[in-house]
């Protein structure tokens, strides 16, 4: 029942009224809402995707928070704090969306800190220079926007609505990153070198954010049939590179791909081979910072336990007092 939504006409399978209603809603490009009936596979797929997405936002705070105390000016520090706060907010919107599907916040958090849940492999790369704040905004958030804009139309209502809010905020992230790089590129030779070095390190991992190539992406077809996903990984990656090339020209940086060239026939930028071994290594937990990111998340969760307990105790006390007052 969960493996296909298009009944095989040669061997008609009786499907339930609810399943028919679900199929009709998907077919009509309408939205599925939390209390609607949905196939188990659809629910599982969404919980997996939305919680991974939420974890990425939460872990994504770390590479940037690294620079808050070292931002080059008070203005940059304020901007960076606002951005990191946004990432926390994005994580919360998404956790809430996953919770409408029956996943609990505790289970999701536990899976993350136990190292059982995945998050975007991009956040396992280090941020050794200030220019990395620029590259993260321009390349990483840029790739995220490319991925996320079509998700605003995802067939699951709460996910789509969360994405609308997130996309609005991401455009600030991308622009501030671009501006950091632009300022460095207009600075000294040393600053230009710092910007270029950072772009060299982030370019390929950013392209990997779109996921494995289409012929190696087992969940894609079903996700597209369910209209959770609207475009294939390769299609979005291509769209992103087409946007990047003219932006890189404005910045005056070089994209570290000697094979990148304009294809007159397709009117697109053809890119060189992506090192998928690196992608799979990082995904498997063997990236430069995987262990550190998880350890930090685990510590934060444990260090914050007393705050959660105190808030719960206070709430219990308050409600007991209210009841007492009502009774007297």
């Amino acid at each position: 029942m969960t493996s296909t939504i298009t009944p095989d006409m040669s061997a008609p399978v009786a499907i339930s009224v609810e399943e028919q209603q679900f199929n009709d809603l998907i077919e009509a490009d309408s939205r599925i809402e939390p209390r609607d009936w949905m196939p188990e596979g659809y629910r599982k797929s969404l919980v997996r995707q939305i919680s991974q997405h939420a974890h990425s936002e939460i872990i994504g705070m770390q590479p940037e928070s690294n620079w808050i105390t070292r931002a080059p000016s008070l203005k940059r520090k304020a901007i960076l704090m606002a951005k990191v706060q946004d990432e926390a907010g994005h994580g919360l919107y998404l956790y809430s969306a996953a919770q409408t599907l029956g996943a609990t916040r505790d289970d999701m958090t536990d899976a993350l800190i136990a190292g059982k849940a995945r998050y975007s492999s991009i956040f396992n790369y280090p941020t050794p220079s200030w220019a990395d704040m620029g590259s993260i905004g321009w390349l990483v958030d840029g790739a995220a926007i490319c991925n996320q804009v079509p998700l605003c139309r995802a067939s699951y209502g709460p996910y789509g609505r969360a994405m609308v809010r997130i996309c609005k905020e991401e455009s600030f992230h991308q622009r501030q990153g671009f501006e950091i790089l632009l300022e460095l590129m207009q600075g000294t030779d040393e600053q230009r070198q710092m910007a270029q070095d950072s772009v060299n390190r982030w370019y390929w991992p950013a392209l990997m954010m779109f996921g494995p190539p289409d012929d190696d992406s087992p969940n894609s077809a079903q996700s597209m049939a369910w209209k959770i996903k609207r475009h294939s990984n390769d299609e979005l990656r291509q769209r992103f590179v087409n946007m990047l090339v003219p932006q890189a020209a404005v910045l005056g940086v070089t994209l570290p791909d000697p094979d990148l060239h304009f294809n007159e026939e397709t009117q697109q930028w053809d890119l060189g081979e992506i090192d998928w071994t690196e992608f799979h290594e990082v995904l498997a937990g063997r990236g430069p910072n995987n262990a550190q990111r998880l350890q930090r998340r685990r510590d934060a969760h444990e260090d914050g336990a007393w705050v959660r307990e105190a808030a719960a105790a206070y709430a219990r006390k308050q409600s007991a007092r209210t009841e007492e007052m009502a009774a007297s």
Partner: protein, 101 residues
């Protein structure tokens, strides 16, 4: 009827958040959050949903306090207006061309 996201397995209760974007407009549902009590729910709602001047007023409502129509009965429950197009101004066409009607 339980509210989606509200589960006995959650430590903190779920709150639905409504934001009035400007004077003269209604509060509109923007999303939900978890918080131990109403005071923290309002503060959390401010931080989560109004970081860019999205609102001048925030409501939080315990999700458990919301009563909803039965989703399985949506056809029957909302059936009554069907066939009653005389409730719409567009039903009355004879006045076409007459001004201010």
């Amino acid at each position: 009827m339980t509210t989606p996201g509200d589960s006995a397995a959650e430590i903190w209760p779920l709150w639905e958040v409504f934001v009035r974007s400007n004077r003269g407009l209604s509060h509109v549902h923007v999303g939900s959050l978890h918080a131990p009590d109403e005071t923290l729910a309002v503060r959390n709602a401010r931080d989560l949903y109004t970081r860019r001047s999205e609102g001048v007023s925030v409501w939080v409502v315990p999700a458990a306090a919301i009563t909803t129509s039965d989703p399985d009965a949506k056809g029957a429950f909302f059936e009554s207006p069907a066939g009653k197009n005389y409730r719409h101004a567009s039903y009355y066409s004879k006045s076409e061309g007459v001004k201010h009607l």
